[in-house]
Symmetry: C2
Subunit: 452 residues, 2 copies
Amino acid sequence: MVSAQNSLTVSSPALSPAQVRYELITLGDELLLGLTANGHLTFIGAQLGRRGALLNRNVTITDEADAIAVQFRESWSRADVVITTGGLGPTCDDRTREVIAEVLGQRLVFNEGIKRAIEERFARFGRKMTDNNLKQAYVFERGEVLPNANGTAPGLWVEQDGKVLVMLPGPPNELNPMFIDQVVPRLAARGCLLARAAYVQLRTAGIGESALETKLQPIFERAGPSLSVAFCAHQGAVDCRVSSPSGALTGSDLERIAGECAESLGDDFVVYGHDSLAVVCIEQLRRQGKTLAVVEIATGGLLTHAFNEGDGADKFFVGGLVGGSADAKRALGGVSAGLIHQHGAVSEAVALAMATGAAETLGADYVLAVTGFADVVETGGTAPSAAGKPVVAIFIALVSPAGAWAKPLSYPGPRSSVKVRAVNAALDWLRRELRRAPRAEVTPTPRIGAMS
Amino acid sequence: MVSAQNSLTVSSPALSPAQVRYELITLGDELLLGLTANGHLTFIGAQLGRRGALLNRNVTITDEADAIAVQFRESWSRADVVITTGGLGPTCDDRTREVIAEVLGQRLVFNEGIKRAIEERFARFGRKMTDNNLKQAYVFERGEVLPNANGTAPGLWVEQDGKVLVMLPGPPNELNPMFIDQVVPRLAARGCLLARAAYVQLRTAGIGESALETKLQPIFERAGPSLSVAFCAHQGAVDCRVSSPSGALTGSDLERIAGECAESLGDDFVVYGHDSLAVVCIEQLRRQGKTLAVVEIATGGLLTHAFNEGDGADKFFVGGLVGGSADAKRALGGVSAGLIHQHGAVSEAVALAMATGAAETLGADYVLAVTGFADVVETGGTAPSAAGKPVVAIFIALVSPAGAWAKPLSYPGPRSSVKVRAVNAALDWLRRELRRAPRAEVTPTPRIGAMS
């Protein structure tokens, strides 16, 4: 969990990374057959974006030597920086290194240091190294090696024809740290990325994209035309990024503008940077020394899982009770059969009883509960259903040291999206309550581009 | 949940879809900035693969008109079928339709039927339609419309220059059913896809890829060189696909071969098709009329969530207890402090107590429990740790009507991957136990290519 407080400050680069043409070539039949999601695009695209560059193109092709040669030649002629992922492994279909060396007119040379690193890695795991692993010790004669702390295939860095080639191994636990620790600093040193974050991101919740834009418009107008603003909506949360592609506004200008936005938004402002609602809640719980539990019937573990994605939440997240069947409500939340009979299983009273029951069972200071049917009839929220009554699909409840409340939610859309919106609404409710608690700290100072 | 029993039978197509050149163009800065994962590639790649075609290339580019024109021209000159996703919406940066019409030398014409459908959709949601939505009513003068049941922008189908262009809207809940219901049958009717599934997939668990290959080798050898075999490993489960790209082996040949494989594998064979381990377990529970609950301390809701991805599991999945903190063990599983003190929180005894406690609390017939630290020291499984003892990181426990057991697990690798492997090991244990239960049905007859 990275706190927004440890954010970076913008530099004034000599070059504009926005003008650098980046292409990403992702290799592998498993991507084209839909067996694996293309996480490399998501990860690398986000990392470049945070430093002021937009990936121009991502091409996914098969492992075939001919296809690689054709595509690499094309990308190399068009782009300033070409990044490839995958195809560096030991098996015979990992031909990327050889094919690209041929296109670049370079020889591959055997590197004793890499050979030793591979042998040591195998020895450490008590496994026997097969000869095909030594393929990974061949590197470009005019290039550099990016050591791989988490696997056998190192990354490769080549500067040639006034361009940069970066070749990265496929497994994300190898690629991701290599990219952040080795590739980003090298690209920044060559002016292909900003040395610092490119934008300040304000994360908001509980306000729609157009209402957000309208509310912040006066601040944007005062800042003038060198300010660039981008919005991105995620099911109940909207991110707003302020940047200055021309460089006319400095990092501290952007921080000041973001600070004005946050102040204007009040409780709808969540955090600077990329921390999730759950991470923001855990951070508040940590400061206040309080604990949280959740009970969910309609959302299949989504709410619970939100608190388990980061590390270190264990101390403050006591536990989650996830109900599949209606019977589970009684067992999980200690809800009486009489209450369910009187109010119905999907009701404000039952949501409240689930939350207070769980607070007792799990001994938590705060509890979030979600109950209901996620199969919402699409009525636009307020239109009457066939039976003439508004469709209310989900109830959420919140227990805090200050009290206990429940409220209905209703969203149109497919089941999966309704679940995510309900979870985000519950998280946002908890966040607002935590913010009001006596020991909560004040709004943090805006800093540009938290890299979390 | 689609059962493997409802699978399809292979046809003998006149053309070979494997030779049709498919390209997919995915549009949008949100993909290149890493704000959204490229789910279109995963979905469309898998759908084509199941019908015997391999997507040759996927290119992701920005929404800019120039970039779209350049890329489309290139893909159109090279491929037989070009599929585009995104860029069909109402806003001014949705320029795909206009740009591609220009490249193809077609006019866009206004379609009254689409206009009415859009107006009706807005009326149904009680929202006011803005004029820019009418943009979506413009279609190619020589092309067909693919109606969109879940949104305003219809898909577009064009046949020109002996090629096929398919333009699809971006939202997955609109694209996915449109692709399955309208695009796949049209492509199959034109010989660009097989009319039926291309392969039989056997899903296995509890056996490694190389052991699997060795075990099945005699069957593959008897089948001869027209049999093509592909393996795909997923953290504790390995899929094996048998196909015959030349068409020399018929669908029933493939079914017979797959049946021999399944018989040879015994309990390591899970299912034909794509059902997950959790779905297979739920299907067995349904047949036996039994219920399941889970308790997990180390895996942050992953096990619980596995049972909530499909629909209709609610009757058989009673609930999940997900612990964050160590204290939660007592509360969730009813584990006594004395037991934890004596054996340690991560022990066989505590895993067993958690599972039996949850069986009582939740009244379930079967319970799976996972406890432990997922922060495994990489020792290769059996090597001694610094303290001279084997590192045992996780315990899983299983309660069934026949008894209760616990066992240790140990995996190398990063935390996220260890969690997935532990969850898969727990699911596979339950699956084997369910298979042994008196009322479990016999192995299903192999049918080619369950499309679930």
